[in-house]
């Protein structure tokens, strides 16, 4: 379970998160929607400890992410992260991109790491791209490579930070399909997204962020069909 309590985050004077309370249960898919600058991505960075927080707490399976004694490198193995800029490692083949961290972080042998990489690359539909370098892959393929790379760490949770926002429109579908498969397999996911169709169809709950607070949260039917907050209504009217 991921549990966020009274979370405040500042970038210098900018108050980005203004008291977030949130729980994500095992197996749940939470989509986070909202305008740019509402703090959606920052929340993800606070959950895996890339960004520090100023107030409140984040717990992942009872581990206090921001406690000084927490081994973040170990914690992050449980939290797969996929970025908007897919960040494939250009000097490594698809296979090496996926196999490197299992080998040097999880401590698998070369053969074990390779097996994991093969499995995950096939999982995301890149079974024919093992020895290809990222610059020969399309954006959608690179993003799926990034998903495979995160999955290879055998995470309990997956955090998606606008995974499709930087893609050409015709490539969005293949990445969303991959995310859909993960959700169906029971992966616990927090998806910051601008894809309203995905949020509606795939999530168990949808959170609407407005200026650093959770303005409204609930099942997709409720958020999309009967939003209570004026802000949510206005936002949804704009993105439709």
């Amino acid at each position: 379970m991921i549990k966020v309590d009274g979370l405040h985050k500042y970038f210098d004077d900018l108050h980005v998160l203004r008291g977030i309370d949130l729980e994500v249960q095992k197996g749940e898919v939470l989509s986070v929607i909202g305008a740019s600058g509402s703090g959606k991505s920052t929340l993800l960075y606070c959950v895996n400890g890339i960004e520090q927080i100023q107030e409140g707490s984040v717990y992942v399976d009872d581990v206090d992410v921001h406690a000084k004694t927490t081994d973040l490198n170990k914690l992050r193995q449980r939290l797969g992260m996929v970025f908007q800029q897919w960040n494939s490692f250009p000097h490594l083949t698809a296979m090496e991109n996926v196999a490197l961290a299992p080998q040097i972080v999880r401590g698998l042998t070369k053969e074990e790491a390779k097996d994991v990489a093969i499995k995950q690359l096939e999982h995301v539909g890149l079974g024919d791209k093992f020895d290809v370098f990222p610059n020969a892959l399309s954006g959608g393929q690179q993003q799926r490579l990034a998903i495979a790379r995160a999955l290879a760490m055998d995470p309990q949770y997956m955090l998606f930070d606008e995974a499709t926002s930087a893609l050409d429109p015709e490539l969005v579908g293949e990445v969303l399909d991959t995310m859909r498969v993960l959700a169906e397999e029971g992966m616990t996911m927090i998806c910051v997204t601008h894809e309203m169709g995905f949020a509606r169809d795939v999530s168990d709950r949808v959170a609407y962020f407005h200026e650093g607070i959770v303005e409204e949260i609930g099942p997709p039917d409720q958020i999309f069909a009967e939003p209570e907050s004026e802000h949510t209504k206005k936002f949804l009217a704009k993105v439709r």
């Binding site: 800029q85 960040n87 972080v105 990034a146």
Partner: protein, 220 residues
């Protein structure tokens, strides 16, 4: 009256000595380059956090190395330190001067290399659970090396050519040796013409080797 008769015989007679001096040149240049890469890298890393004594020391080094004549830097290690009572051998003067100069230039190459890599690469590596050491050695530095490789090759060529300044502090590398024979025989043009060819060939070999190594090192 203005006719000049070329005399190549003395040059060819001392060709073995010149070639040996060429090896000396290559040796001191290689050593200066190796030390320059290491120190340049340390300087670049030292300048990443833009505050503190180390930052200022590294910055001063880079500024002096890049913005004063290389000859003056050699003179500093020769006459400058000499005036303070530290007497280095000609070999050490050349080695120290070239290293100082090269480290300064390479530090800027490395800095540019690191800046060319999106900061999100580090984030991605860390998000996979890599510690900073793993993220730098496995993800960032291999990419930096690719970016700085050809500038580094150029720098090495520059070091080989710059080592000719050694002549002015009494070091018998290729140019020093040439000068020695030239003034002994007065066949100045002939000697320096042949030496120019030797430099040219050395540089060409370096460039070809560098290209070959690149094709082995870099797969993408």
């Amino acid at each position: 009256m203005f006719e000049y008769n070329f005399h190549w015989r003395p040059v060819f007679k001392s060709l073995p000595d010149l070639l040996e001096a060429a090896l000396t040149t290559l040796q001191v240049a290689s050593l200066a380059m190796t030390a320059g890469i290491l120190l340049g890298f340390i300087l670049a890393v030292s300048r990443m956090r833009e505050t503190g004594l180390i930052y200022w020391f590294a910055t001063t080094w880079v500024e002096l190395a890049r913005n004063t004549p290389a000859l003056f830097q050699l003179f500093f290690f020769g006459f400058g330190l000499g005036a303070l009572g530290f007497h280095l051998s000609p070999y050490l003067i050349v080695l120290a001067g070239l290293t100082f100069n090269t480290a300064g230039y390479l530090a800027e190459n490395f800095r540019g290399g690191f800046e060319a890599i999106p900061s999100t690469q580090l984030r991605a590596a860390r998000s996979l659970g890599m510690n900073p050491w793993q993220a730098y050695t496995r993800i960032l530095i291999p990419q930096v090396m690719r970016i700085v490789y050809y500038p580094m090759t150029n720098q090495f060529v520059w070091v080989v050519l710059m080592s000719s300044l050694g002549m002015l502090v009494g070091y018998r590398e290729l140019t020093g040796e040439t000068q020695f024979f030239a003034s002994k025989t007065y066949r100045i043009f002939e000697y320096f013409a042949v030496t120019a060819v030797i430099y040219y060939v050395m540089v060409k070999v370096i460039l070809v080797l560098s290209k070959f190594c690149a094709s082995r090192f870099f797969r993408y």
